[in-house]
């Protein structure tokens, strides 16, 4: 690995804290990922990406910046990557998957704020997120109340924060709001980059992001095979890297893994034995390096076959219609696609209940584990109707509420194991 010390210093990172973070991340990755058996060879690419997640990838982004591209950081799947790409900007997901600088964070946020929001502040206050520090624009979005109010405080820490409003109902009015916000975002990005979006650039951007999603769709489909050809941890990693990597290279790498998995399926080879209980994970997003629950599940004798999550199928479901030829029709198609995202901030949100049940069936899950981050009101609220809907279809469900800390790992393991025993 190259020495990126100067680059990190130039970005204003706290080198000591950052070293500590990379050390923890490296060890966790070794224990959780590299200890898995029978991983697809193609995962080697993702191992490399993770080993360089704060190194080479940041260097690439800085090189892009040097050539005049702009970097936009985002915390949510509602921020349309197509618009960023079409205006000569790169969209990256920002760090929010680990506790950091907790004491500093609690000067800005109440204790009972979800771990994901706290984490985004922790990475800023601890000066350990090179993505955030490289970004020319940071996009916040009005999803849950926690995030909405937290961005008011984040605005005092980040001088290039842009807040996008989002609807709460799937009504005509809601859609009009989203459309209006996407046009406002388009103007803001064009102003940032100085590049006007053209029909051609938008079409190319749509195709690039669609290809990335299609590759993930292909990977997801393959996971319905019995025995499961890839671990849930590895598939989750691909879904996580979705937010960081160069889109074209990511698409190619995921497709390469899919080629390999198709062969495995042909040979009836799996990552775990055929009888291994199959779990669908549903609920809150899992940002890098939040691998706690999947790790507990897959070291308790089950395999995860799908993620009903923003870092997973909720985030990647549906492509943007590619047939439009004018900016207006393509913008409409973009709005159509994103408006279908069934985040728990929407009310009512029957689509999500339907999707969870459909996914359980499609991926042949024996049970569903619903994961809520502690204090994440929208998903905790929905966990009860989700459980009822699934139990109505005789799909066993376990509701879990946790955070990024490890102190409840023993209790979680007991619950998860008991649930797996129940399925067996």
């Amino acid at each position: 690995m190259s020495d990126y010390t100067q680059m990190w210093k130039d970005l204003g990172l706290n080198l000591e804290a950052h070293d500590m973070l990379l050390n923890v991340l490296g060890n966790a990755y070794k224990d959780i990922y590299l200890s898995q058996k029978d991983r697809p060879e193609g995962m080697g690419y993702f191992d490399f990406v993770m080993s360089e997640v704060h190194g080479l990838r940041i260097k690439e982004l800085l090189d892009e910046k040097a050539q005049g591209r702009k970097i936009i950081g985002s915390y949510c799947v509602f921020v349309p990557e197509e618009i960023a790409l079409a205006a000569n900007a790169t969209l990256v997901g920002l760090c929010s998957g680990a506790d950091f600088a907790v004491e500093e964070v609690e000067k800005y946020l109440p204790r009972n704020t979800c771990a994901l929001i706290k984490s985004s502040f922790g990475f800023k206050l601890g000066k350990v997120c090179p993505y955030l520090e490289s970004a020319d624009m940071v996009v916040g979005e009005n999803t849950c109340d926690g995030k909405k109010k937290a961005y008011e405080s984040l605005g005092s820490l980040v001088d290039n924060l842009y807040v996008m409003d989002l609807p709460q109902m799937k009504s005509d009015g809601g859609k009009a709001l989203l459309k209006n916000e996407y046009y406002r975002f388009k103007s803001a990005v064009e102003k940032l980059t100085g590049v006007a979006i053209t029909a051609e650039s938008l079409k190319n951007a749509i195709k690039t992001v669609n290809a990335k999603r299609a590759a993930i769709h292909r990977l997801s489909e393959l996971r319905s095979a019995k025995p499961a050809p890839i671990s849930g941890l590895d598939a989750l990693l691909a879904n996580q890297v979705f937010f960081y990597d160069n889109p074209a290279r990511f698409t190619e790498s995921v497709n390469k893994i899919c080629d390999e998995l198709e062969k495995r399926i042909q040979d009836k080879k799996g990552v775990m034995a055929e009888k291994t209980p199959r779990i669908l994970l549903s609920g809150c997003p899992m940002a890098v390096p939040n691998w706690k629950l999947p790790w507990i599940i897959e070291t308790s004798g089950a395999v995860i076959v799908g993620e009903e999550s923003c870092v997973g199928e909720r985030g990647t479901r549906n492509l943007v219609d590619e047939s439009g030829d004018t900016i207006e029709t393509m913008m409409d198609s973009i709005v159509d696609r994103y408006f279908k995202v069934d985040c728990a901030i929407f009310t009512p949100n029957q689509d999500r209940l339907n999707h969870v049940a459909q996914m359980a069936e499609k991926y042949r899950a024996d049970g569903v584990i619903h994961y809520s981050l502690q204090f994440c009101q929208p998903y905790i609220m929905e966990s009860i109707p989700v459980e009822k809907a699934l139990e109505g279809k005789d799909i066993p469900t376990l509701r879990v509420e946790t955070d990024y800390g490890m102190e409840d790992a023993g209790q979680l393991k007991t619950r998860v194991q008991a649930f797996i025993e129940q399925l067996g």
Partner: protein, 275 residues
């Protein structure tokens, strides 16, 4: 052939040995202390010294994995025969939930709902007609509503743990304790004492708060509200808890002979059924 089950909980450890018909031929208990593995091995030593042999061990409780690793690596290994078994075959693990379900099914074949309140956790388990786990609920990470909570509160009020329930039942009036957190409840109790409240009434208030939490868990898992509840774990020995839960849920509460042994007993039965 005999089979052993061990339940390593936060407060106590139980070992039960059953024969191939599932009858208990030996059962022992010890405090968990600070070295649960050493305490567990001592229990097995005393069983071996009494001449009882067993083929396999099934471990449950929060210390199950720790014990499995320690036991499998013992040198020289106590279970040397029969030779066709690998060490890993000799000790395996099962969760407390499945172990309790199995143990209860042996005592009460028609049981549909179990409440288990142990030292540091509490759980409600719904069973299918065949005695298998259908659904369960467990308390979260803290000790609220568990045996540990009652133990600390008994000490604060100057009652022995054995008398705590009996004394609470003698209270003339109900008193409300709002805090479920052990730390907050303790200060609430302290201020009630300072106000001159009757300590039996405080004791009853504490039992009521634990009962409400347990009843909530039971209601989330059971489908038939008229079913009786089987109560296991150390707290099932507390008569006040049994009475309060029965009154609150309007159903009978059945307590097996030795409610603390159910986990180890169930584990031993599961071991005997492994074939």
């Amino acid at each position: 052939m005999n089979y052993a089950g061990i339940d390593i909980g936060s407060r106590t450890i139980e070992v039960v040995v059953v024969n191939s018909s599932g009858d208990i031929i030996c059962s022992l208990q010890a405090d968990t202390g600070f070295d649960p593995i050493a305490e567990s091995l001592k229990l097995f030593d005393s069983i071996e010294n009494s001449g009882i042999k067993y083929q396999r061990i099934m471990a449950t409780g929060y210390g199950r994995t720790l014990f499995e690793v320690a036991y499998t690596n013992l040198d020289p290994h106590p279970l040397s025969a029969p030779k066709d078994l690998t060490l890993a075959d000799k000790c395996s693990t099962v969760t407390e939930i499945k172990a309790h379900a199995r143990g209860v099914a042996a005592y009460f074949p028609n049981a549909a709902t179990i409440l288990d309140i142990g030292g540091q956790d509490s759980k409600a388990i719904a069973l299918n007609n065949n005695g298998k786990v259908k659904k369960f609920e467990m308390n979260d990470r803290c000790a609220a509503g568990t045996g540990k909570f009652l133990e600390i509160m008994a000490r604060t009020l100057g009652f022995s743990i054995d008398d705590f329930g009996k004394e609470a039942l003698l209270a003339q009036n109900d008193l409300t304790i709002n805090s479920m957190c052990t730390v907050f409840a303790e200060s609430e109790v302290t201020s009630l004492i300072a106000k001159g409240a009757d300590r039996r009434e405080i004791a009853k208030g504490l039992h009521i708060s634990v009962m409400k939490r347990a009843a909530g868990m039971i209601n989330r898992v059971r489908s038939d509200q008229s079913d009786s509840i089987v109560f296991t774990g150390g707290v099932a020995k507390n008569g006040c808890m049994v009475t309060l839960i029965s009154e609150k849920l309007g159903c009978s509460v059945l307590v097996p002979d030795n409610p603390q042994m159910i986990g180890a007993f169930g584990a031993a039965l599961i071991s005997s059924e492994m074939g």
